[in-house]
């Protein structure tokens, strides 16, 4: 089976060591790692953000060769920052930067999927961070991209919307020629929703495999300095074992 997304020798100097990564169609891959381990850099390198080295192909095509008017169908990227300082209307923000053939009906449909109907006419800079998050997620999902790169999509969301978003991502992947790569910190959500888990540390992927198996392995303790306990995770020792 050939990979839907093939990234070879990706690197961002000082932030991401040369990395190969292949993503299969229909899979939700979770990227976990401590702060500063290179999760965002890996997403950037695949999304051709910040002039990365290496090659990326999505369904056989180099995204850099696809013009902005159609790129949104190929890959869609959610930035970790939810700051939008400009006084734009919520509905218009979701429609911004979409491929030319994304219809107004599709925008409306995506807005209502994320419970944003009542906010559609409000100014973005006056919404709460969580509401703005949902809006930006709706923007990313509206174009039905082949590859979704989501940087901490469930941060700022309340528990209900965290579940709804991840359920929705799963349903989008069902039988579709699509892959989702999500960077996040919630290990339990990763266990529950991911098909595949990547653990990053110091700019490298240090473990790659089935979530439940990896979460039970020594990698978690080595990378995060935590161990499983009856009540969830806890620090493996009073001092940070990594230091």
């Amino acid at each position: 089976m050939t990979a839907l997304v093939a990234a070879k020798q990706l690197a961002l100097p000082g932030r991401l060591e040369p990395t190969d990564l292949y993503l299969q169609a229909g899979q939700l891959t979770c990227l976990v790692g401590p702060n500063g381990s290179g999760k965002t850099s890996l997403l950037h390198a695949i999304g051709r953000i910040g002039g990365p080295k290496g090659e990326v192909s999505i369904a056989g095509i180099d995204p850099a060769k696809v013009p902005p008017s159609r790129r949104g169908h190929m890959l869609s990227y959610l930035a970790a920052s939810r700051d939008i300082a400009w006084p734009l209307i919520a509905h218009d923000l979701v429609a911004l930067g979409q491929p030319e053939d994304v219809s107004p009906a599709r925008i409306a449909e995506t807005l209502s999927l994320f419970g944003l109907d009542s906010l559609a006419d409000r100014r973005v800079d006056r919404l709460s961070t969580g509401e703005r998050s949902r809006l930006l997620i709706a923007r990313v999902l509206a174009a039905d991209a082949t590859l979704l790169l989501l940087d901490e999509p469930i941060a700022n969301l309340d528990p209900l919307w965290q579940l709804r978003l991840l359920d929705h991502l799963r349903s989008m992947l069902w039988g579709a020629n699509r892959a989702v790569l999500v960077a996040m910190h919630d290990l339990e959500m990763a266990r529950r929703y991911a098909d595949r888990l990547l653990i990053m540390n110091e700019g490298r992927i240090v473990a790659d495999g089935e979530p439940a198996a990896l979460l039970a392995s020594d990698h978690i303790t080595a990378v995060f300095g935590i161990v499983p306990s009856a009540s969830g995770w806890q620090p493996s020792s009073p001092e940070d074992p990594r230091s």
Partner: protein
Amino acid sequence: MKQWTPLLLVAVLAALAVSLALPWAPLAPLWQRDPALAQAIIVELRLPRALLALFYGAMLGASGAAIQAMFANPLASPDLTGSTSGAALGAVVAAYLFGFASPFALAFGAVAGALGALGLLLLLAGPKAETATFLLAGIAISALAGALTTLALALAPSPFAFYDAYQWLMGSLIDRSLGQAAFAAIPATLAIVLLLRFAGPLDTMVLGEEVMQSLGHKIGRLRLWVVCLTALGVGACVAVCGAVGFIGLVAPVFARRIVRGHPGRAILPAALIGALLLVSADLLTRSAPIGRSLPLGVITALLGAPFFLWLVAHMRWSLSR
């Protein structure tokens, strides 16, 4: 937006017609007596002035909107980024070296000054500065350019050179030829038309640089284009008419009301509103009841500064809600 553009266009053309016709009192009897002379007054005296107001205003409006979109900052404008004062400094230095009669030297100096100021701002404040950093850097650059301009005035080679430079600095559209008007209008038109091509990408600047790059936009190239085009257009206009403030700040604020806040799409209406504002301001300079016309730069500053204060107060108020 679709209904507004023709409306604005009609308003601009009407203001232009009024600007050509007023003052009517000396013109009407002359038209009876010597139509050729009346026509010469309109074509050679009034038309350059009206056209300069039109193109300079449009350039300031469009570049204000483009700079605000590029910095994702609704308080940016050619004056606050120091490009107007940079252009003025460049032109004064060029004028001392080559004389005020040499339009090429003036234009070259002004464009170089504007480019220098914008480049320095990008260097000082960084490409994605916060409002405060950005405004402080802009104020610092404006102050530096202003101080250097004053120094240049103090070192004027002769009292005549000082007077020429001082009067030119206050901004004036009077006594310019059609050739000079073309000298400002052609680069300004070129700059506005090219800026309009970037309206779409400038809209998406709202989403942040990372998302823009993921969409395939080349941020560095976009910035360079906007900086060079605004410096070219504003520089050419400053070279002919001197520094005129605040239009670049005020016009986009109104323009965005028409385009639901989209920063890039505001470029066209901002150009039209800028033209309307400057043609109207020029009409005001002529109708002051003091027997002589007022400096244009003073009028726009007197009207624009209170507006800027209102804008800051309004932003504080809306942020505190």
